[in-house]
């Protein structure tokens, strides 16, 4: 029994381990995709055959604060040799934080078989597995995507406003305790990227995203994750929304709740604190006292 299958996940098929990836590096039905915060990591070395997906350059619209549209997604995939039936496996730095973000965007377009390499780049490197600087190219894929589905796994500001007043809902803020409390609103020296107000959305529980992983960047077993989330009333019977600063860290929690714990209704509010904390008139709770 592999480590993944022994961890009690609701959807273990959403994860693969490094050994599985090593065995499928040359599998034409599998495309390995690296997605990092550090934009130059891929250039320093990557898994043989892996292609880079950059969250800024590839997944975001270059003008509007939104994701790529259907035609752009189809082009993105086809150019990387990805077809509708390709198994895509994401991995990356920062405990797979950006890999889950990329997977979430792929799921907005309904890509059927998208997985995460448990442990991410750090585990692959720690195991001394092969890395290369060679950038592969693949024959164009054939991709036909539906319109982006912004209803099932994505939440917008006005939906969050209703959400916090409704019964049977839960909201989880996955930022650091300092951001949650309002002690910190932005990165020092970067007011232009911050928010005008500090604190959190009323009713939100604070469960920092990285509590879901172990030191080796692999996900904690389901029992530990259940304790982590249900201990703060983030339970599977509720309609759950996760948020952070711009929706990337919360995509990690979305992945955990959806695939590892099998919660049936989880959305990611990608507007997150940079939208909520700058909006006029929205309610905010601030627990930090200067």
């Amino acid at each position: 029994m592999s480590d993944i299958s022994s961890k009690g996940y609701a959807h273990p098929e959403a994860l693969v381990d490094t050994a599985w990836v090593a065995e499928h590096l040359n599998d034409p039905n599998v495309r390995i995709l690296e997605s990092d915060e550090d934009i130059l990591l891929y250039d320093q070395g990557h898994l043989p055959g892996a292609i880079k997906i950059d969250w800024v350059g590839d997944l975001n619209d270059s003008v509007v604060r939104d994701y790529l549209n259907r035609a752009q997604f189809e082009q993105l995939c086809a150019a990387r040799g990805i077809s509708n039936d390709t198994t895509v496996v994401f991995y990356g730095d920062k405990h797979n934080w950006w890999a889950t973000y990329a997977l979430w965007v792929f799921k907005l377009f309904g890509h059927r078989d998208a997985r995460i390499m448990d442990g991410g780049r750090a585990k692959w490197v720690a195991e001394g597995r092969t890395m290369t600087r060679e950038v592969p190219s693949y024959p164009h894929g054939t991709y036909s995507a539906p319109e982006r589905d912004d209803a099932s796994i994505r939440a917008f500001r006005d939906e969050v406003r209703q959400h916090i007043k409704a019964n049977g809902t839960a909201l989880v803020d996955v930022r650091s305790p300092q951001e949650y409390s309002g002690e910190r609103t932005h990165m020092p020296e970067y007011p232009q990227e911050g928010t005008l107000r500090g604190g959190h959305i009323p009713t939100a529980a604070n469960i920092p995203w990285a509590k879901a992983v172990r030191e080796d960047s692999t996900f904690k077993p389901a029992a530990e994750l259940q304790e982590l989330y249900t201990g703060q009333q983030i339970t599977p019977d509720k309609d759950v929304i996760a948020y952070c600063r711009i929706g990337e860290r919360s995509s990690h929690t979305w992945f955990v709740l959806t695939y590892l714990l099998g919660y049936p209704q989880v959305r990611n509010y990608d507007g997150s604190w940079t939208e909520w904390g700058n909006a006029v008139g929205l309610p905010i709770e601030k627990t930090y006292k200067a």
Binding site: I39, L40, D43, M187, E189, Y190
Partner: protein
Amino acid sequence: MNRQASIERLFDHYEHPRNHGHLDSAQVVQVGGQSDCGDRVVIYLRVAADGQTIDRVTFEGQGCTVSQSAASILTDMVIGEPLDRIALLDENGLIDILGRDAVGTRPRCATLALTTLKAAIASYQSSQRQHN
């Protein structure tokens, strides 16, 4: 400089950072960044006796290749330069120096050291005004 050449220079500075480490004689120690979700740079600044030029600047930090290599390149550039000239160095200019093709999609990382250095200079100048 093409993208690959820019990347090779960034790798070189990342793997062999210049002006790296604590500076005991620094007049200003300025912290920039956010350790929780990204990059962190600490700038140690010592201004020359004339009060107008950078005598020594070093950095420590952690984070991505871009933020740390940019700090190394920047500190190499500014030693001996007038403080006022640093104030005029804008973020876009630094991104061009680093290689827009390589770092353009990470402006926050690329300019972290610069904004931190500017904050250090502002702190130095403020303390000098109070002293005088």
